[in-house]
C-alpha cells in the first residue's frame, strides 16, 4: 500500500516541480519573505519592535498567499485529470482509489512544503541573522505548514467533487474569500455591529482555519494577544497562551483530517 502511494507521490511531485504554480509559489514566498526579513527586521538589532514588524509581515504574507497558493493547484489536480480523461485511465490500472487519492494529496502537499521550505526557510534564515529569535521563526514555519496542509486538503476535496478544473478553481477561490471575509471582517462586524458575545467569537476564531493560524502564531510573539483586541484577551483568559496555541494547532490538524476524509468520501461518491 505504502509503495503504491509512493509511486503516485513521486509522479505528482515531479509534475508539480515542472508546473508554473510551483515556480510562482517559490518566487512569491522567497521574494516576499526575503524582502520582509531583510527590511522589516532592520530595527531588530535594537530590540523587540523591529523583529515584531518583520514577524508580523511574514505572518501576513502567509495569511495572504499560503491558502490561495495551496488551494488553487490542489483544486486543479483531480478535476483536471477527470476533465482530460486521465483519472479513469489511472483508476483502470491495478491500483486502489485510495492509493490514487492519497498519492495525489501527498504529491501536492510535498510540492507545497518544498516551496514553503525554500521560500520561508531562506526568509527565516535572514530573519534569524537579523536578530529574530529562531524559536519564533520555527513556530511561524510550523503554523505555515499546518495552514498549507489545510488548504491542500480542502483544495483536493473540492477537486474530488468538481467536474472541471475551472469549476474547482472557482469554488476554491470563493471558499477562500468566504473564510477571509467571515474570518477577519466578519469578526469585526459581528463584535461591533451585532454585539455577538465574546465566547461565540472565541469559538469562531478556532473554527476558522485562517483565524486559528493567526491566533496560533500571535501567541508566539504577543503572549497577551493584545494585538487581537478583546477577543485575544478573552482567549488568554480562558485558555492561557500555550493552551490557545495548542488549540489553534489542533484546529488546523482537525481541518486537514476532516477535509481529507470529506474529499475521500466525495471522490468515492463521484466514481459510482
Amino acid at each position: 500500500m505504502i509503495a503504491g502511494v509512493a509511486i503516485w507521490i513521486r509522479r505528482e511531485l515531479s509534475v508539480a516541480l515542472e508546473a508554473r504554480w510551483f515556480v510562482a509559489n517559490l518566487f512569491i514566498f522567497l521574494g516576499g519573505g526575503l524582502l520582509l526579513s531583510a527590511f522589516g527586521a532592520g530595527d531588530a538589532i535594537g530590540g523587540y519592535r523591529g523583529f515584531a514588524k518583520a514577524f508580523t509581515g511574514l505572518v501576513h504574507l502567509a495569511l495572504l498567499f499560503v491558502p490561495l497558493m495551496a488551494l488553487i493547484p490542489a483544486a486543479a489536480v483531480i478535476a483536471g485529470d477527470r476533465e482530460n480523461g486521465a483519472l479513469e485511465y489511472f483508476l483502470a490500472q491495478p491500483v486502489s482509489a485510495g492509493q490514487v487519492y492519497a498519492g495525489k494529496l501527498g504529491g501536492v502537499a510535498a510540492a507545497m512544503l518544498l516551496s514553503l521550505t525554500v521560500g520561508f526557510g531562506a526568509a527565516g534564515a535572514v530573519a534569524v541573522l537579523r536578530g529574530v529569535p529562531a524559536g519564533l521563526v520555527a513556530t511561524l514555519f510550523g503554523f505555515v505548514v499546518l495552514l498549507a496542509l489545510v488548504f491542500v486538503a480542502l483544495g483536493l476535496a473540492v477537486s474530488a467533487a468538481a467536474p472541471s478544473r475551472a469549476r474547482a478553481t472557482t469554488i476554491g477561490i470563493v471558499g477562500w474569500l468566504v473564510l477571509v471575509v467571515f474570518g477577519t471582517l466578519g469578526l469585526i462586524v459581528a463584535f461591533i455591529r451585532f454585539g455577538v458575545p465574546e465566547s461565540t467569537l472565541v469559538i469562531w476564531t478556532f473554527v476558522n482555519p485562517i483565524e486559528a493560524f493567526r491566533l496560533g502564531v500571535m501567541c508566539a510573539i504577543d503572549p497577551d494577544l493584545s494585538l487581537l483586541g478583546p477577543i485575544g484577551a478573552a482567549v488568554v483568559a480562558q485558555l492561557g497562551t500555550t493552551g490557545a496555541a495548542l488549540l489553534a494547532a489542533a484546529s488546523l490538524m482537525a481541518w486537514t483530517l476532516g477535509a481529507t476524509l470529506m474529499g475521500w468520501w466525495l471522490f468515492r461518491r463521484t466514481q459510482a
Partner: protein, 305 residues
C-alpha cells in the same frame, strides 16, 4: 476469461445494463457493437471494476467486485480518448510500467514494433504526439508483459481514417493468446478484429454470434454500386430489375445499386457486360450499423414470438 451473470447497472432510475449474461473464452476476439448510449462503455467500466453493479462478474478468474485491483492487474485497457498526461513519452512509459509491475524493455520493444521507438520519440512531450500515436502508446502499455485480456473502448473513435487503419492493423497483430474485447460502433473495426459479435442495444444483448451469421440471419447484404454512362443508365436499371428483382435494385441519380451476396454481385457485372453496357466505376457498400441493429432487433423479436 470473462464470466458475467445477470449483470445489471442503473444510474439512478435509469437502467443502462439489464441482466447481461456473457461468457468470453480465452483467446477469443469479441466485439461489442452498439449505437452511442447502448451501454458499451458502462459494460467495460464494470469489467474494470470502476463502478458498482448488480449480478456476478469474473474477469480472468477473479471476482471483480471483491478483488477489482487484482482483476485490473490481469487486463490492459485502451480508452476512447487518449488522456493528456504530463511529461515525456519516456516518463509516461516508465510510470505506467512501474505501476503495473511490467517490464519497461518489453514496452519499449512493443513501441518500436508499433513504429514509435523510444530512442527517437522518448523525449517528446506526450501531448505532442498525434492521436493515432497516442492510441498505439496506450495499446503498448495495455499489453504489458502479455496480459491475458485486452479491453478496448472505441479506440479508433477519434482517429482519422489513416490512423484508424494503422491502429487496426497493429491490433490485429496482437498475439492470439491475448483475449481481445473491443467496444465499437464501427463495422470496420469489428470486421478487422473480431470473430464474435455481441450487439448491445438499450442495455440488452440483442445478438451474440459471428458477423456473417448476423448478416445471414437478418438478410443484411452488401450493395454493389455501378456507375455507367448516362445514356445507358436506364437500360442498365431495367436489365438489372428484370434479372434480380425490383426490390434488390435502387438508383441514386448517378449509379445503380444492387443488394446481394458475393455470388449475385459477381453476376451483376457479368450481366451488364453481356448486355454491352460499359461500366465506368463500381464499388461495394457494407450494410450500415443501423441496418444491422434493426435486423438484430427484428431477429430477437421473431425468436421471442
Amino acid at each position: 476469461m470473462i464470466l458475467a451473470r445477470s449483470l445489471s447497472k442503473a444510474f439512478g432510475k435509469h437502467p443502462v445494463l439489464a441482466d447481461i449474461d456473457l461468457t468470453v473464452q480465452a483467446g477469443e476476439r469479441l466485439a461489442i457493437l452498439g449505437l452511442n448510449g447502448a451501454g458499451k462503455t458502462t459494460l467495460i467500466r464494470c469489467f474494470l471494476g470502476l463502478i458498482p453493479f448488480e449480478g456476478e462478474l469474473e474477469v480472468a478468474g477473479v471476482d471483480v467486485r471483491s478483488a477489482g485491483r487484482e482483476a485490473r492487474a490481469r487486463l490492459g485497457y485502451v480508452p476512447q480518448r487518449a488522456p493528456q498526461f504530463e511529461g515525456s513519452l519516456a516518463d509516461v512509459v516508465a510510470f505506467f510500467t512501474t505501476l503495473r509491475g511490467a517490464s519497461r524493455d518489453v514496452a519499449a520493444a512493443r513501441l518500436e514494433q508499433f513504429g514509435l521507438p523510444l530512442d527517437e520519440h522518448g523525449a517528446k512531450p506526450l501531448q505532442a504526439l498525434s492521436g493515432g500515436m497516442l492510441q498505439k502508446v496506450l495499446l503498448a502499455l495495455a499489453l504489458g508483459d502479455d496480459v491475458p485480456l485486452l479491453l478496448l473502448d472505441e479506440p479508433t473513435a477519434n482517429l482519422d481514417p489513416r490512423a484508424r487503419r494503422e491502429f487496426l492493423r497493429v491490433l490485429s497483430e496482437v498475439d492470439r493468446t491475448t483475449t481481445v474485447l473491443l467496444a465499437s460502433h464501427r463495422l470496420m473495426d469489428v470486421e478487422a478484429v473480431a470473430d464474435r459479435l455481441v450487439v448491445l442495444h438499450d442495455g440488452h444483448v440483442m445478438f451474440d454470434g459471428s458477423l456473417p451469421t448476423l448478416k445471414r440471419r437478418i438478410g443484411a447484404e452488401a450493395t454493389l454500386w455501378v456507375r455507367v454512362t448516362p445514356a445507358q443508365r436506364a437500360s442498365a436499371d431495367e436489365r438489372l430489375r428484370s434479372q434480380f428483382g425490383a426490390d434488390a435494385v435502387r438508383a441514386n441519380g448517378t449509379a445503380v445499386g444492387i443488394r446481394g451476396d458475393a455470388a449475385v454481385l459477381g453476376e451483376v457485372l457479368h450481366e451488364l457486360r453481356r448486355a454491352g453496357i460499359s461500366i465506368e466505376e463500381f464499388w461495394t457498400e457494407a450494410p450500415s450499423l443501423h441496418e444491422l441493429l434493426e435486423g438484430a432487433l427484428g431477429a430477437r423479436s421473431e425468436a421471442e414470438a
